[in-house]
Subunit: 361 residues, 2 copies
């Protein structure tokens, strides 16, 4: 089997654990999202938190993405270093150190940031002044997810007014992350906010929505201008569970070795919480799907041990077997490694640095 | 307050999130473990998985540690690069890539590895041959934790025989990781294994135990020669919960900024699962202890958001506040960052690279 040859080649060349991406699937996933955005008449602004790689961001741009989304300033710096531009940092940036860096970034790239409170906004003119250039700001709005984001249209409008009245800041629009069943609520929020903005003489040039599971909702929000998706470039067990992806769409696998079979119903993978992470993917049972042994349960972790419960497994893996794991949550797994092994057509074709790995600030 | 000055200085210099260690506490923790090992008459072989830093490993060595423990070969390579020697790799190493690297490491450092199965042992002579030097092997024994490790003394003796009969391998002893209440069971296991070894003409030169919560059990196992501890150098919320440490012993804190207060009972830290990790510390409630607001609950995570439930919190943090978090599990948090900020007496004195971060293989 071709896959056994590939597994042996990856293990021999890089050892395990190894995080492997299939570029054919990656390209298909990129093209699919672009086509969905095109069909819905919204711009595609992929969220690079999933791959943290300027190489992959450039593939998304070249396929038609308008710009990119970053969650942290450090990610945006790496992307700008890699030649990416038109960057939305979807995060409240606060503090002198961040303003120093944001100013330097803004001087060399087109940047928009998000804010959901007056303290954040009050700090941002410092960055604009350092850059000698206006900084775009979108107001983050919460329409039910209880993350960041103002809870009412009135608050959004008030912050837009603060932004528009701040030297060096430009009100760019609204950023939403609707729940999958909450697009009616998002529409009511947006309509009310737009009316309020109009009364201030403001317009939301950007109305940004987000989320891979929300790709099915594209086009539903009248007034939306762009969509942010991260996970869809690779997909994972969480996307399988919610029906947003099939196994054929899963472009990233963690190659792991069975290093112990200490009990007849137990085994140990060389990938624990420092590789696959303890992220349960929103409450999934087990810590990943082993493609060769779907009945094997990754029951718990030590840092470098994945504890396999093989009691439900007819065909049990042996010590030395290399297996492929679809992780629960791909975005946090990529962040554990410095490189992705890229394959195409069953052949290793190179390594892609996870250049923004660990850029937490 | 001195701590407010330090927090402001860390935030201004490095930004948040920042992982900060107090070297006074670190030295006290190192000295405490060394004294406990000395008093019990066992060697101290600290596990560097917690700090992944040759600088800190050298501090442990200089305080009296015999050697070090690494969980992965990549960690051992970094430690050898940093001048550490006498390295126990407490892990089943399997595969051609690992043997190539293990051979190169053995050629330049004194290395012992662990094994719990015949497949692992059968692969190891290749590394010894590459190094032109004998490789020490200890047999990993399970006395109740259901991790790696053979489940019976008979299996341990059989593997010892296989090791002793393998060209280039040297049987070095037994590695145990008793449960905190399982030292009687460990004694019975060790006694039976020792008798079996004697019948083969073998002796366990090393009998290694492990675990920070097991420091209270040092001296209980007759025949033990050394102890492996990781977490005790920093401690964490897990060690607080099990009584193995007090707040005064917690030497590592994650400095984080409150970036949103989107609802009256909610807040958001700039540290999510990509900083504090989703490790629950064995089922603790919440994702860390905020020293300034112990009633605030880090209820859940997005990748870069720590969602605060402030409903039980009289004194609620404001946007822009910098807070200090004791993480649930310190070993996985250190592995998320490239450097630790070192402070002493309330002053920043430098940065310590987490040189073995992400060495998963």
């Amino acid at each position: 089997m071709a896959i056994e040859t590939l597994k042996a080649e990856v293990a021999r060349t890089f050892g395990t654990p190894a995080v492997v991406i299939d570029l054919d699937k990656v390209e298909r996933n990129i093209a699919r999202v672009q086509a969905l955005c095109d069909a819905a008449g919204v711009a595609n602004r992929p969220h690079i938190k999933t791959h943290k790689s300027p190489v992959l961001a450039a593939m998304q741009r070249d396929a038609g993405a308008r710009g990119i989304t970053c969650q942290k300033l450090g990610e945006a710096e790496v992307m700008a270093d890699g030649g990416l531009d038109d960057i939305l940092i979807s995060y409240n940036l606060i503090g002198e150190e961040k303003m120093r860096r944001l100013g330097a970034l803004l001087a060399r790239a087109s940047v928009t940031v998000a804010a959901d409170n007056p303290v954040t906004i009050a700090g941002l003119p410092d960055a604009a002044a350092r850059a000698g250039r206006d900084l775009g700001v979108v107001v983050e709005c919460d329409t039910g997810r209880q993350r960041a984001g103002v809870e009412t249209p009135e608050e959004a409008v008030a912050l837009a007014g603060q932004i528009a009245g701040s030297t060096g800041l430009r009100f760019d629009g609204l950023m939403l992350y609707p729940t999958e069943d909450g697009w009616d609520k998002a529409q009511r929020f947006l309509d009310a906010a737009s009316a309020g903005l109009a009364s201030l003489g403001l317009t939301a040039r950007i109305v940004s929505t987000g989320g891979t599971p929300n790709l099915v909702n594209l086009g539903k929000l009248k007034g939306a201008t762009e969509h942010r998706v991260g996970t869809s470039i690779f997909n994972d067990r969480m996307m399988l569970a919610c029906g947003a992806a099939t196994l054929e769409d899963c472009a990233l696998e963690v190659y792991a070795t069975v290093v112990s079979r200490a009990g007849p119903e137990r085994g140990i993978l060389d990938s624990g919480s420092k590789t696959l992470t303890s992220d349960t993917g929103g409450g999934l049972d087990g810590h990943g799907l082993i493609l060769e042994h779907p009945q094997a349960r990754i029951a718990r972790f030590a840092e470098e041990h994945g504890f396999l419960d093989l009691s439900g497994c007819n065909d049990k893996p042996e010590v030395g077997d290399v297996v492929r794991v679809i992780p629960n949550h791909v975005c946090v797994v990529v962040n554990m490694v410095d490189r992705l092994i890229a394959v195409r057509g069953g052949e290793i074709i190179g390594e892609i640095p996870v250049a923004a790995r660990g850029r937490l600030g």
